[in-house]
């Protein structure tokens, strides 16, 4: 891809059929954006948590794809993704515990009702 304005249909077709790093990055970006949209629109805590997981997952795709397509000497990209998964696991555990706690204490799981940070 040199000049975006001189692309031919052939170029587009070739790009579409030759799966490479960019495709994974685009997929990751799309998943991330979907997760973000969900995070911004859902009212409940648990759906919001799910969206956060989606976003983390999208980031992991990036890491794995980089590791696969770029000239790397070892598997450190995947390793980063594994750490990321570990952190995500910790996060979801805490998040679910928090949600449970909030539900127990305030009898709600709506983010709207949790505005005690209001300035």
């Amino acid at each position: 891809m040199t000049d975006p304005f001189s692309l031919t249909a052939m170029d587009i077709f070739r790009f579409a059929t030759h799966i490479g790093l960019t495709h994974y990055l685009l997929l990751a970006a799309l998943l991330f954006a979907i997760g973000l949209f969900g995070l911004l629109t859902r009212r409940g805590i648990i759906p919001a948590l799910m969206c956060v997981e989606l976003m983390l997952n999208a980031v992991n795709i990036n890491l794995v794809a980089f590791n696969h397509y770029l000239p790397m000497p070892d598997h450190s990209g995947q390793l980063m993704a594994i750490f990321s998964i570990a952190v995500a696991a910790a996060e979801i555990a805490i998040g679910v515990a928090l949600a449970f706690r909030v539900y127990r204490d305030r009898n709600t799981v709506n983010l709207d009702d949790l505005d005690h940070l209001k300035g």
């Binding site: 973000l36 911004l40 983010l111 709207d112 505005d115 005690h116 940070l117």
Partner: protein, 632 residues
């Protein structure tokens, strides 16, 4: 022995101060002990004052060579303030008067305050007052005098408001304090100007510096200084137009009226002018102002006194009038006459007030003289003392007032005929209203439900002593040569001008006769006379509406100006502050929209930032690459 008194003169004000501390801190609840302490200390002060007076009589100290003892009080930069004692015959006379009256009044108060639960407090304040007044009298410089000047003002305030549970007493106390403060402010300006001009406030140093200064630079600034200083005495000594507080000050207990508002504190103004007479006497313009202020006050107050009904109010206006007399004497250049009259007045006016106290107490707080009558039989001792007081103030020879008043009249006659006539008319009026007071209250029929009877011994004996002093002080002062001790400039020959004295005595007797005809013999109806006089009577009865005029001035000028300032404060000053607050509040409201506690709003903002960062780095990278010509 006189040397001992002289070198220990500093004890004279300290002893009552000690009494104040002991009573105030310890025995306030126990009025008998309090009274004993106060009287003991006053008596010791009195003895020391006698010793000082002895030193004057045997002449170790004279006007030209005073005894001075001072110690450094405060040092600010290169300004050194001293505090100490300055004893000359003037001081000695004042010490004698103040300690005598203070002692007698305190003894009297034992009887007067016998049933008042606040008696301990009363004696504490009286002691503090005595201490302050004596300190004032002994001052070596203007600053010390000013400090004690304010202290006596404070005592006056405290004692006028002694019956603090009475609205009128509280109001009177405030009025007295604020009114005299006006004068004090002028005086303070004068003192500061003295310091600026001469670099010293010491009386003796100033006295030494003054002739050279006048010779070198003239009297312009000095006149300003003297006039400013004179504002203090106008306030303190109840001169027109700041006299309004003195009649109201009668709300205080009667011994206070006798001690503070008749005999001692109110003459502080006269004393100040006398003490700084070296300054005033060098300035003819200022002297003239003093003379006219004094003269006008004298006749002005006398015309009011004629129509008043409350016992003490009559005496209060009489006091104002007599203080005007003293000022007049100073104004016409006779320190001797003024101080002589100060002394005699202290005795007979204190006597009159103490009699008033006895009468009013006997009448169960009834102050209107027209509700009294026939007290002559009921209270014989009081009546005799009162008669002596009235004769003394009216100037009947050979009582005290005759000599001192005659001295003033003679001095006035030498300088200015209008002032002399003014003073003479005042003397006539004085005799008339005092006779009216005496006749109405003590003669005539005894009112049917009159509870009056003779007072107790505590109150009786001070009256007798003061009556004796009222009788002899004039004669003694005249023949022992008061003018050879207390004088300024050349010693004036003491001689009675028979023409002047004769006129005044004749007028006095005429006034007595008229008053007798009107109020005892009832040949003329007093009501008819007041009706005939019409406007004049109304003016006098309402004290020339001075209070009302002040009220109007306050309401129109002060309140309106205050309203303007209030508006300014409310809308401009507060407006700015509130505006700032409102602006900040509004701004925070705007910012608060971002801080609404909704996590998702925060996430939105956060990602907007993230997008902006990525977009920025993209644009930046594109720019760099296109400049470098690199290919995608």
């Amino acid at each position: 022995m006189f040397d001992f008194a002289l070198t220990h003169a500093w004890l004279i004000p300290l002893l009552p101060a000690l009494a104040f501390l002991i009573i105030g801190l310890g025995t306030r609840q126990d009025k008998d002990t309090s009274a004993k302490i106060a009287i003991t200390m006053s008596a010791l002060s009195f003895l020391l004052a006698l010793g000082v007076a002895g030193a004057v009589i045997t002449r170790p100290v004279v006007m030209a060579d005073p005894f001075v003892m001072k110690t450094l009080w405060a040092k600010v930069g290169d300004i050194e303030l001293f505090m100490g004692v300055l004893v000359d015959p003037l001081t000695a006379m004042m010490l004698f008067v103040v300690t005598t009256v203070a002692l007698l009044v305190q003894i009297y108060s034992v009887g007067y305050m016998a049933h008042d639960p606040g008696a301990g407090r009363f004696f504490a304040f009286l002691s503090l007052f005595a201490s302050s007044m004596l300190g004032l009298v002994l001052s070596v410089n203007f600053m010390q005098m000013y400090a004690f000047w304010e202290l006596v003002g404070l005592c006056s305030y405290l004692l006028i408001g002694f019956y603090y549970y009475k609205d009128s007493a509280r109001e009177a106390a405030k009025k007295a304090f604020i009114t005299t403060r006006i004068g004090d402010f002028g005086m303070l300006l004068g003192i500061l100007l003295v310091q600026l001009t001469f670099g010293t406030l010491d009386f003796l140093e100033l006295k030494a510096l003054l002739p050279t200064y006048i010779w070198e630079t003239g009297g312009g600034i000095l006149t300003v200084i003297a006039l400013l200083l004179f504002i203090g005495p106008i306030g303190k000594s109840g001169q027109f137009p700041l006299h309004v507080w003195l009649p109201d000050a009668m709300e205080g207990p009667t011994p206070v009226s006798a001690l503070i508002h008749a005999a001692t504190m109110v003459v502080a103004g006269v004393y100040l002018v006398g003490r700084a007479y070296f300054l005033f006497s060098a300035l003819p313009v200022v002297l003239e102002v003093i003379a006219w202020v004094g003269g006008f006050t004298a006749i002005f107050a006398a015309t009011i006194a004629i129509t008043q009904r409350p016992f003490k109010r009559i005496l209060a206006y009489s006091t104002i009038s007599q203080l005007g007399y003293m000022m007049l004497a100073l104004g016409v250049g006779s320190l001797t006459a003024s101080m002589f009259h100060l002394m005699t007045h202290a005795f007979f006016k204190a006597l009159l007030f103490l009699c008033a106290g006895a009468v009013i107490e006997a009448m169960h707080e009834e102050a209107d003289i027209f509700k009294m009558g026939g007290l002559k039989e009921r209270m014989p001792v009081t009546f005799r003392c009162m008669t002596i007081g009235v004769l003394a103030i009216a100037g009947v020879p050979p009582l005290a007032g005759f000599f001192s008043k005659d001295a003033i009249l003679a001095a006035a006659a030498e300088v200015s005929t209008p002032l002399y006539i003014l003073a003479t008319v005042t003397a006539f009026l004085t005799a008339f209203y005092m006779a009216r007071l005496l006749f109405v209250a003590f003669f005539g029929e005894v009112k049917p439900d009159c509870p009056a009877q003779e007072t107790n011994a505590w109150m009786r004996w001070p009256l007798v002593v003061l009556a004796a002093l009222s009788v002899v002080s004039g004669v003694w002062g005249h023949f022992a040569g008061f003018g050879e001790w207390v004088f300024h400039g050349p010693i004036t020959e003491e001689h009675i001008s028979w023409q002047i004295a004769g006129t005044s005595v004749a007028l006095t007797l005429l006034a007595f006769f008229l008053a007798y005809e009107i109020y005892v013999a009832k040949r003329w109806s007093s009501y008819e006379i007041s009706r005939r006089l019409g406007v004049l009577y109304t003016l006098s009865y309402n004290k020339y509406y001075i209070d009302e005029i002040y009220t109007v001035i306050r309401n129109t000028f002060v309140d309106k100006f205050g309203a303007v300032l209030y508006w300014f404060d409310l809308h401009i000053v507060d407006g700015i502050v509130n505006g700032l607050a409102r602006f900040t509040g509004g701004l925070s409201g705007v910012l608060g929209l971002a801080e609404n506690g909704q996590v998702q709003r925060y996430v939105t903002v956060f990602y907007c930032g993230a997008i902006a960062l990525v977009a920025y780095s993209l644009v930046f990278a594109w720019l760099v690459l296109s400049v470098l010509g690199g290919a995608f």
